[in-house]
């Protein structure tokens, strides 16, 4: 038997390596691929539905963003301005001691009247006059039909529990005996906490001057009632100034958990602005395309959504 002859590799002339094998050409498919079906153009009804849902989404996003995030920023800015104003008035001796200013002009909602400090729960806020939803967005509000803190009688301060900084969100934690300090145009007024009170419980049997702090009770943004904290004055009582507003004439939107419908006109115009911006954005989308429409109309629609949200939040209960 002889061994089979081994096949020698092909030798290319001049010693050059063999050329790479050419790729095998692809076979044509047996059946041509199915062409992607182009989506049919939306009907006018679908376009209207799409635009309406987009508008609703913008409004809802604006309300949530404003209520949970931006309201805290608005509160901080408002407090800075109020703090400066009150400091100037205290320095000049013109801080209000009644329902009017030194010029005998009725205080407007949102004017600063006092500064409250509760060290135990980290409260250091400027108190404004009025307790409507718009006023309480700036800070704790003084109820108009009660005397100012420190004056003889019962003074009521209302504050939000969660939105706009939630300044009174932790007043339930105040134990009896805790100190509260309020600075008004009549000096520093010192209070001592008596206790917490829910609806149905009788008022404290204290025959002196008293301060009542009120806020919403229950989960954040979902109030189930009102909680009150009573405190008695331990510093000398001050004489009370004149007041025009009484319990009978107090505006309904200044009461506990009330909504403010006095600025519904603002909501109407904000909605008109948002709808106009939406129409313009739709036109721009068809005419100029996505890129230019996004650059121009994203800020406008965001602004419109926030304007609507700011007005819509005033319709919510004033203590949340």
């Amino acid at each position: 038997m002889t061994a089979p002859a081994r096949r020698l590799p092909a030798v290319v002339e001049n010693g050059a390596p063999p050329a790479p094998r050419a790729p095998r050409p692809l076979k044509p498919p047996r059946r041509p691929p199915r062409a992607a079906a182009a989506p049919p153009p939306p009907t006018p009804r679908q376009l209207l539905l799409r635009s309406s849902l987009a508008l609703l989404a913008v409004v809802l996003f604006g309300v949530l963003a404003d209520l949970i995030v931006l309201s805290q920023l608005q509160h901080t800015i408002a407090q800075q301005e109020l703090r400066a104003t009150l400091a100037e008035e205290l320095a000049a001796g013109t801080a209000p001691v009644s329902e009017g200013t030194v010029d005998n002009v009725l205080l407007s909602d949102g004017d600063p009247v006092a500064r409250i400090e509760i060290p135990a729960i980290g409260v250091n806020e400027i108190v404004v006059e009025g307790t409507s939803s718009g006023a309480l967005a700036k800070g704790p509000g003084h109820r108009r039909d009660t005397v100012l803190p420190g004056q003889a009688g019962v003074s009521v301060l209302m504050g939000r529990a969660a939105a706009y900084g939630g300044p009174f969100g932790r007043i339930q934690e105040l134990p009896p005996g805790e100190a509260i300090s309020v600075i008004t145009g009549q000096g520093e007024q010192l209070y001592r906490v008596l206790g917490v009170r829910y609806a149905g419980e009788s008022t404290p049997a204290v025959s002196g001057t008293r301060l009542v702090l009120e806020t919403a009770r229950g989960p954040a943004y979902m109030p189930t009632g009102v909680v009150r904290v009573d405190a008695e004055l331990v510093s000398p009582a001050q004489p009370a100034g004149a007041r025009l507003t009484t319990n009978a004439t107090l505006s309904p939107q200044d009461r506990e958990l009330a909504s403010d419908t006095s600025t519904v006109w603002g909501l109407v115009f904000a909605l008109q602005f948002l709808i106009a911006a939406e129409l313009a954005a739709v036109y721009s989308l068809r005419r100029f395309g996505w890129a230019k429409t996004w650059v121009v109309f994203a800020p406008v629609l965001l602004l419109g959504g926030l304007l609507v949200a700011d007005q819509a939040i005033r319709l919510l209960p004033n203590l949340i």
Partner: protein, 247 residues
């Protein structure tokens, strides 16, 4: 030809609506501020006491500690507290007669590795302003948002509360780690009568929230599904490539 003219009509309509809104807003704003603006309404003189003067004679210092000289020179009519609105519903009559004062509930969560563990500490303060020592009791319990009880309720005796004494009472309730959102409750039961005054129990509640094991598991699962969708479905990676498997 019809499309540009139609588009032009839409643009004109949108501009008209926007102009109307802006014009109306600008025009209405001053009117709306007339009763609530910074200038306010002129104060009608209705002096409650002839010697009372709201002219602001206080002389505060610039440091925020004004001298308490008073802005009015006499005591005006006393203002009674406004009648509480029925925001909390009528409910049962809860009254401590002004002899005992109770704070609200506060809470602290003590986490646990055990998914069925976790403890919620509830506490409140009570102060005795009566002239004699008082014995009372407190009952703590926790419910989830649907009303079911979580863990065991705890009864605490508050005995020998001396006159003028403030006491902090707390209780720890175990087995709340499965629930991230619970409501802590307290019923404070005073003596039936104190110095001839009839007393009744009062209730307090507080919403407590913390990171629960189901919540963390849900977030982790959702994150994993999103990662899988992003890398495998959207980018077309082989499933094995996520875990370093060789082809």
């Amino acid at each position: 030809m019809s499309t540009p003219s139609r588009a032009r009509r839409i643009l004109i309509l949108a501009a008209a609506v926007a102009a109307t809104a802006v014009t109306a807003a600008v025009g209405v704003s001053p009117a709306a501020q007339a009763d609530g603006g910074s200038d306010g309404t002129k104060l009608v003189v209705t002096v409650i006491d002839s010697s009372a003067s709201p002219t602001g004679t206080a002389t505060p210092t610039a440091t925020g500690s004004p001298t308490a000289t008073g802005g009015a020179t006499s005591t005006a009519s006393s203002t009674s507290e406004p009648t509480p609105t029925a925001t909390g519903g009528p409910g049962p009559r809860n009254d401590l007669g002004g002899l005992l004062y109770v704070s609200g509930l506060s809470w602290v969560y003590h986490p646990s590795i055990n998914p069925f563990g976790g403890a919620l500490e509830l506490r409140f303060s009570v102060r005795n302003v009566y002239t004699k020592a008082v014995d009372a009791s407190a009952r703590f319990w926790v419910t989830q948002l649907f009303g079911g009880t979580v863990g065991q309720s705890v009864d605490v005796a508050v005995t020998g509360l001396k006159p003028g004494e403030s006491r902090t009472v707390s209780a720890v309730i175990d087995g709340v780690a499965l629930w991230g959102l619970v409501v802590g409750h307290l019923t404070f039961t005073p003596p039936p009568t104190l110095g001839g005054t009839a007393l009744a129990p009062v209730n307090r509640d507080v919403l407590a929230w913390f990171l629960s094991w189901p919540f963390l598991g849900g977030v982790g699962g959702a994150g994993g599904i999103f990662l899988w969708w992003l890398l495998v479905v959207r980018r077309g990676l082989r499933p094995g490539a996520l875990f370093g498997a060789r082809p």
